[in-house]
Symmetry: D2
Subunit: 363 residues, 4 copies
C-alpha cells in the first residue's frame, strides 16, 4: 500500500519497471470535462526519457492508453484508467541488484520490507518510471485546473549548486509560466542554464551525477483553499511531492532562508490592490495557516543527485553476507532534475485540485 | 476539516484559543499499555508557555484531563479523549484583529475561508495553543514507541542563523537524546546556545522576532517501516509537521545541501556491521523509497520568525476597505523555536507510530 | 479504532459507560450556520433514558457541553467538540460481568480483542450509552439538512412482531414526519402502538425483552446525491446504522419482500409530474445505483431484543474456565426500539449529510 | 468517486460496460504469497455469463490479464492491476436508453448526477459487468484468507420465494462449503433448487424476472476481528455488499426474524467446548459489537428481481420531456441470483480480509 492518493480525487498508481504495464486509475473526476489527449501527450513528453543528450537512452513512446472514464473524449464520471505498456524492457541489466543493493536506491529497504518477493528488476515499483502514471494524473488535473483559471509552472532553480534567477514571488505572470512550459530545460536565465548543462556534462563524463532544486508556482489560486492543521495546502503538497523518488526536501515561500530572517522582514504586509487584498512581499509563499492567500503559491523541492552512477561503489552481497563492490550498468540520467519538473508540477496539480474540490463543498 | 490525522491511529484535535477547552481524541490505540501521566505532563511542560524569559507570559497549567480510553492508567482499547480547559483567557487583547489581519498570521486566510463566522479571538483554531493537544497525542505515542525501543529526540539546530553542532547522523546515540530531552533549550553546543539566546533577547528588546531550524532524529526504528510513494515515512512526517504553525520547510538527511552534492558523495555505501547491514554515511537520513533503512531517521524543519511582533505593521481594515496600520499587543514569544521542539517530536511520533502499526500488518 | 465516521464530516466518538465523560468531535462542519442548542436538546431527549415506564431508570440529564466549534452559537469552521459528563455511575452493578460475559453482549468479543484491558464496566465503549454522542452529531446534521430542505423522520414499524401501518413510500409528507417527531412512541397507528406497548409490558413483567423494526424516511433529498459502488447512499447509511448496538439488519425500499417479487412488479415506472420526473411506485426506496432518485429514501432496520434480561442465563466464567450461570441486575430497557428511533435518524443524518457535501463538489 | 474500497487493502475498480476494458487495482497486498491464477479463473467462471440456460447470452472469456503486482506468480508487494478487455460489445443495443431510463436501473440517477456526460451504453460504470473486477479482487482475497484457514461459502437461500434449507448456523462445516463451491446452482436441497429453476424458467418465458436471497457464511474466522461502532464487521460487510447492483437488504444472524423474538430466546448462551468458548445457538451470526465471536459469521442478502425485463414498461423520454414506453432488448438474465453468489462472497472476502489485517496491528 502507499500508492494511492487523494480524498476527493483518488489516484491509484500501479506497475513495476519491468511488469507488463504501468498505469493509474483516477476515481472522483468530475463529469462533463473534455480532456485534450494531444495536450496530455505533450505534457508527458516533458518527463519522457531520450529527449536530449543527458537523459537515459531507454526510449519509450509512453503513450497512455485510456481504458475507461472517457466517453467521446469527455469525462463521464466513472474512474479513468490509463495504462502504458512496458515495451522496451531489458531485465538482464538488473540481474546483479537482486543481490547487491544499489547505494541511494530503495533496493535495500524493499528487501527489508518485502524479502525475496520484491520485484527488484529495474527498481520494481520504486522505479522513477512510475512517475509516468503520476504525470498522467497530473496532466489531467492541470487541464481541469486550467478550466478554473489556475496555472502551475516551474523552473530549474538550481543544478549542481548553479542557481537560476528565482521567479518573482509577487509578480510572476502567466506569460512567465507559458514560456517555461515550452522549454525542455526550463530556466529564467539562459546563461545559468548553460552552466548547469555543462555541470551535468562534466558529471556524465566521469560517470557521476548531480542534483538540484526545482521551484514551482501555482498562479491564480483563489484565497481560501485548503484546511487548517493536517490538511493544509503545504501538508498536502508535501505529501504528494515526496512520492517522487529523489525528493529530499521542500520549502514554501522564504522557507529555510526565512527562518534566518526577522519577523519584521519576513511578515508580508497586507495592502489593497483595487478591491482585492494582496501582500506586498510573498515570503509566506501563498499559504497562511494551510490556506491559500490568493498570492502566488511558491515552493521549492530538493532533488538529490541520481543514485545510479557508473563509478564503483561499496555495497553488500545479501547471498554471501559480506561486503562487496558494485558497478551499475544500464541506462541512467546523470541528472534527473529536468525530467523531474513535470513530476513536481503533477504532484502540485493533484494536491491542489483535490484541495480545490474540498473547498467547493463549503462555497 | 483538516484537524484529523492518521490511518491506524486517528487523531482529532479540537478547540480554539479562547473556546471553553481544547483537546484531542485518539482512536485506534492498542489496549493494554500503561500510560505514565507524570511523564506525559513532563513532556507537555516542554512546550508550555511561561517557562523562561523568552516565552509568552500567558501562564497556564495545561494539565490535560483524560475523559476516556484509560482504565486504571492502562489503555483499554476505546478512544482516548483529553481536554485542557482554557482558563486564562483575555479576549479583549484581540478585538482589533477581527478587522485587521495580522501579517504572517492566518487571520486573513481564515476570513477568506470562513467569512465572519471565524473565531478570530487569539487566532481561533489556528492558534499555536492548539499544539498542546498535538503534544498530548505526541507524548502518548512517544511512550508507545519507547516500549518498542524507538526514541525520538531533537535539538535547536539554528536560531537567527546561529548554528548548533549538528547531530552525528551515523553515531547519534540514546544518551545524546536523553541529554537533549532534559534541557529547556536543547542544543549540543552550549556556547552556540548562548549566542542564540542573546539573538532572541536582542529581538525581544526591539519588539521583533527571530526564527530557526529544529533537527529531529528517530533512533532504533527498524528497517522496513513505511510504504512506497504517497505513504512513505517522509510524506507522512511532512504532512504531520506542516500542521505546526510557523513551519515553512522540511528536509531529510542531506536535504537541500545534498542536492548540491554529487551521487558519488551523496550515496551512502552499504556495509555489514556484524550481522546487520548499515550505511557508512547517512545522507539519506534513514529513509530510502519512503521506507526506513534502520539508520537514524533525521530531518530538519524550518520555523519562521514569530509573526506576532510589537513593531507597527502595514495591514488592511476589512470594515473600512482601506489600508491601515496595526500594533499587536498581547503576549507573544520573540522566538517560538524552543517551545516548538516537543511539537516537532510529537509530529514525528504520531506519524512514525502510525506507520509502525501499518507495518505490523505484514510482519 | 472504529469510532470515527465520514469523509467530509469526520465524527470521532469517545467515552465508556463509566468513564469521566463521553462525547464527540465533529470536524469538517461548514462555517456560518447557527446551531439551535434548545432544539438539539429536544432531539437528545428522545433517546434519553427515564422518560417512560419502559426505559431504564438510570436517569441522566445528558445535556451536552459544547467545548469548541461555536462562536456566539454559530459554527465557526473549527471542529465542534461536545461532552456529556457521566454523573450517575453505579460501577458496582457490573462487577460480575468482568468474569462472566453477558449473552448477546460484546463482553465476550471485547475480551477476545482487548484481553483484560477492556473497560467492562457498563459495557465500556460498547454501551448503548455511546449512542448519545452519536445523537449529538446526528442532531446537528439534522439541523444542517433542514437548512437544505431535507427532513428525516421515522416510526416504530414493528415491535414484538406487531406491525404499525407503513409509511406511504410515495406520498409520505413533511406533516407525517412532523407528527412522528413529536411523539415519544412514534407510530402511525395508535392502536397498534398500544398492542406493542402491552407486549413490552408483558416482557418486562417476566424479566424478558422484545425487539422490533424501525422505518426511516428521508424527505426531499434531491436526485443525484451519492456515488456508485462502495459509496452509494445505501452502503453509507448501512455502515452508519450498524454502529448502533442491537442493529442486525437493514433493507431499502421493498428490501427482502421485494426479492420475492417479479421485475414487472418491483420495477418503479418513471413518470413526469409537472417538470419533475418521479416514479409511480417506490420499491427502490429512493436509491438506484447508490444515488438518490429524488423519491422518498426509505429503509428499515431490525433491532434485536435487548440482550440484558433478568432471567437466568447460561454463560462461562473466564477465571474458573467453566460453564456458569448469570443473572443480570442493574437497569435495562425491556425494549430499546423507541429510544433507538433518534439513533437511527442520527445515523441517517450523518451519512446523508456527508454524501450531500460530497455531491456539492461536482455541482 | 465511490469505486474504491478498503483501509489496508485498497481496491479501485474501473471500467464501463462498453469501454475498452474493465479492471481493478489492489494496493496493500502482502508480499510473498503465491496467487493460483487457475483457481482464480475457476472462481471467476462462477459469475461469468453464458454458463447455463438462464444467464445472458453475452459470452465473454473474461480472463483477466495481470499487469503488475506479481513476480513469478507471487505477490511482490506492489499494487496488483488486472484488466479484462471488453471484446464482445454491442453498443447498438443501448441506443434507446440514453433517452429513456430503464425502470429499476441507475440510468435515471446517473443522468441526474452526470448529465449528458454519463456513458449510458450498457449501463456504463453501473453495469453488473463491473462485478467481474470485484470478483477478481474477491478471488484473490479468498486465496489469502484460505492461507489463514478462513473459508467463505454461500448458497441460494431463496429464489422467487422458494426457500432452500438454511445452513446450520452452529455446525456448518468446511465440507458443506466445499460442496456448495463446486456447484453452478449452489443449494443445500436439490429439490428446492429444481423448483427455483422452474420459477426462473417461467419468468423467462414471459419476459419477466425474479429475485432471491443469498446466504453467506465465513468459517473459522478467529474471535476478536473487527472494531466497535463504525468499523464493525457488519458495517464493513454491508458497505461492500451494497456495491453489488440489485442488493437491497442485508441481515446478520437471526436478523429481521430475530427482531420478532425475545431476549431469552435470541441471546446465545456461552459454553465451553473444550478449551474454547462457543455459543450454543448462533442468532448473533458470529458478530457481537462489530467483532467476530469465533462462531460462523452468517449473513443473508436480498437481491431484487433483474431490472431488465422484456415486458413493455412505462418510462419517460428525456429529450421529448414526456411520458413514454420502453421495451428493453439485448441480453439479460431472468434471475441474477446464481451469478451473484461469487459476488457476495467477494464482497465478504474483501471486507473480512481488510478487517483481518487491521486486527493484526494489535496482536
Amino acid at each position: 500500500m502507499g500508492s494511492t492518493f487523494g480524498k476527493n480525487i483518488r489516484i491509484s498508481i500501479f506497475g513495476q519497471s519491468h511488469s507488463p504495464a504501468i498505469g493509474v486509475v483516477i476515481d472522483g473526476l468530475p463529469a462533463g470535462h473534455r480532456i485534450d489527449i494531444e495536450k496530455l501527450s505533450e505534457f508527458l513528453k516533458r518527463r519522457a526519457p531520450g529527449r536530449d543528450e543527458f537523459s537515459t537512452s531507454r526510449f519509450e513512446s509512453d503513450i497512455p492508453e485510456i481504458l475507461s472514464g472517457l466517453k467521446d473524449g469527455v469525462l463521464c464520471g466513472a474512474p479513468l484508467a490509463a495504462v502504458i505498456k512496458n515495451s522496451n524492457v531489458k531485465p538482464q541489466d538488473y540481474s546483479e541488484i537482486a543481490d547487491k543493493p544499489r547505494p541511494g536506491h530503495a533496493d535495500f529497504t524493499a528487501q527489508m520490507k518485502y524479502g525475496g518477493a520484491q520485484d527488484y528488476s529495474g527498481g520494481g515499483h520504486f522505479s522513477g518510471r512510475l512517475t509516468a502514471p503520476l504525470c498522467i494524473a497530473g496532466g489531467i488535473m492541470l487541464q481541469l485546473l486550467e478550466e478554473e483559471g489556475i496555472t502551475i509552472g516551474s523552473h530549474i532553480f538550481e543544478i549542481a549548486g548553479v542557481q537560476d534567477t528565482p521567479l518573482d514571488p509577487v509578480h510572476v505572470s502567466q506569460s512567465d509560466i507559458a514560456r517555461l512550459q515550452k522549454s525542455t530545460f526550463p530556466v529564467n536565465d539562459t546563461e545559468s542554464g548553460e552552466v548547469m548543462k555543462s555541470a551535468i556534462s562534466t558529471a556524465k563524463k566521469v560517470g557521476d551525477s548531480v542534483g538540484g532544486i526545482i521551484e514551482c508556482v501555482v498562479l491564480d489560486l483563489p484565497a481560501g483553499i485548503g484546511e487548517p492543521m493536517f490538511e493544509g495546502l503545504d501538508n498536502t503538497i508535501a505529501s504528494a511531492v515526496f512520492a517522487i523518488p529523489a525528493v529530499k526536501g521542500i520549502e514554501f515561500g522564504s522557507g529555510f532562508a526565512g527562518s534566518r530572517s526577522k519577523g519584521s522582514i519576513n511578515n508580508d504586509p497586507f495592502i489593497y490592490s483595487g478591491e482585492k487584498i494582496k501582500t506586498l512581499s510573498n515570503n509566506h509563499g501563498g499559504i497562511l495557516g494551510g490556506i491559500s492567500s490568493g498570492m502566488p503559491l511558491i515552493f521549492r523541492v530538493a532533488i538529490k543527485p541520481t543514485s545510479s552512477i557508473y563509478i564503483e561503489q561499496d555495497t553488500v552481497s545479501f547471498s554471501k553476507k559480506e561486503n562487496s563492490k558494485l558497478i551499475i550498468t544500464g541506462r541512467h540520467d546523470p541528472c534527473i532534475v529536468p525530467r523531474a519538473v513535470p513530476c513536481i508540477e503533477s504532484a502540485a496539480a493533484i494536491s491542489i485540485y483535490d484541495a480545490l474540490l474540498s473547498s467547493k463543498i463549503y462555497l
